[in-house]
């Protein structure tokens, strides 16, 4: 395995700095997060490797324009977390099986762990950090708090991104439909009943 493999690298915050305090980080999913500012020409990079065959991409992340060279192997997940310091999106299985890394690309929910950043030239990405309006939480974020829709919280950003999409897709007709269309997001704490409560509560209020 080459040392530059971006899929294996872990974030390496510099001495004395915390990733949570790094520029562009908006904190945890359910915290009142400021809209992240992604620097236009100099994305904050904790992994400074674009490999042997860099690809230039230009995309919008939570409304901010990002131009960068990327290793063609880099996933959107690693790019968000390690280069743009948007650590709200979580790496669960990294194999497309758990849904923790769910984000929206061009308005559709996808798995960022199976999406290559190199394929996203011109795309519009929304991560959990892009949902809140200043200090005002997105209604789905607020609903997860109100209905206790999580326990440990690790899957929650993915659950919320998926739930936002599900409401937009109009798949909230019944609890059964909500469950079916949330089935791509695994919760090891098994908060499923409260997640369904949260999604049901925002039916008709957003979308």
């Amino acid at each position: 395995m080459p040392p530059t493999d971006p899929s294996r690298e872990r974030p390496r915050p510099g001495p004395g700095t915390s990733r949570r305090q790094s520029p562009g980080s908006a904190g945890a999913a359910t915290a009142a997060g400021a809209v992240p500012t992604v620097a236009e020409n100099a994305p904050t990079a904790t992994v400074e490797s674009v490999g042997e065959n860099p690809v230039e991409v230009s995309l919008r992340v939570n409304g901010s324009r990002v131009r960068m060279e990327t290793d063609p192997r880099a996933t959107l997940l690693d790019t968000l977390r390690d280069r743009l310091a948007l650590t709200g999106t979580k790496k669960g299985c990294d194999r497309g099986q758990c849904g923790a890394c769910t984000v929206q690309v061009d308005g559709r929910r996808v798995l960022s762990c199976l999406t290559l950043a190199a394929a996203l030239d011109g795309a519009r990405v929304t991560s959990i950090e892009g949902l809140a309006d200043g200090d005002e939480l997105h209604p789905v974020q607020q609903a997860f708090i109100d209905h206790d829709g999580f326990q440990c919280g690790f899957c929650t950003p993915g659950q919320i991104m998926s739930a936002v999409s599900l409401v937009e897709e109009g798949r909230t007709g019944s609890d059964e439909e909500i469950r079916e269309h949330m089935s791509g997001n695994i919760c090891r704490c098994s908060a499923y009943p409260f997640i369904v409560d949260a999604v049901r509560s925002v039916r008709g209020k957003v979308g």
């Binding site: 080459p2 065959n53 798995l111 394929a119």
Partner: protein, 327 residues
Amino acid sequence: MRPYDFTRPRSVGAALGDAHEGSAFLAGGTTLVDLMKLELMTPSRVVDINRLPLRGITVDRGGLHVGALERMSDVADHQDVRSRYPMISQALELSASPQIRNMASMGGNLLQRTRCGYFRDLTTACNKREPGSGCAALTGHSRMHAVLGTSDACVATHPSDVAVALVALDARVHLESLREKRTVALADFYRLPGHTPQVENELRAGELLTGLTVPPLPWASRSAYLKIRDRRSYEFALASVAVALDLDLDRGTIRDARVAAGGVGTRPWRLEAVERALVGRPAALATYEAAAAPAGEDARTLPHNMFKPALLRRTLVRALVALGGRS
């Protein structure tokens, strides 16, 4: 992942020109990126085909035409697909998760690799991954494995749901290379494993799957896909069936039928004997049970999947009852 170079062609011609031995086409990435992470696929070049004009879901006198880059969710949601070929929509919606259906292309779905755990585990023997190394599934966990079309070299199940519906509907796939364009019946596109399980289909090196056509079949509006699995959702089939019935409602008889099965075969499994046993008979439980009885008779089971032939028959009867009624 191993290093590769990355190209983003804008035309089919440019994409075919970019392809070389050891390259891979990237559409949705749900199989390719996964298998590159496992270093089970190690292309030296990835050709991103998402800008190619291989889109469109249209119905005309030639049937239903779907561009290879159309996403599973869009095909499932399409009004004409839903009304004319409900079993295609249902097969797609019972596949994977909403996120994966938003990503995965129709072409990629048909070309996806098996989910056999031994194929994905580089530490075990697998003739599909490493020809000649053996098959760990024969003496391993075989609950998810195939019972039809297997060989001593491979018992891996074909994982696609929609391919089962498409085989029942006599769908054809369109293939293009720098040298020629050709069309192949999907049923003939997939190969049995035999002694060469690493060769899964008729796609040649440098060839691109550009789209598929489903011939017109007006009575396919009465069709359904029934999938039985260990979890209620987001799981591969233990057994599944795609069934379409042409009913003579005045006489209460079956004029014609299409039947195929998934989760049990090394490729999508058309059940023509079942179809023949239904045609001309009353649409009634006794007919369905008699027609389903021989299904899976030639199955070769393994210690953990001995239930599959019976499950297949029951799944067939349940789907037929749902479509044709009990009497």
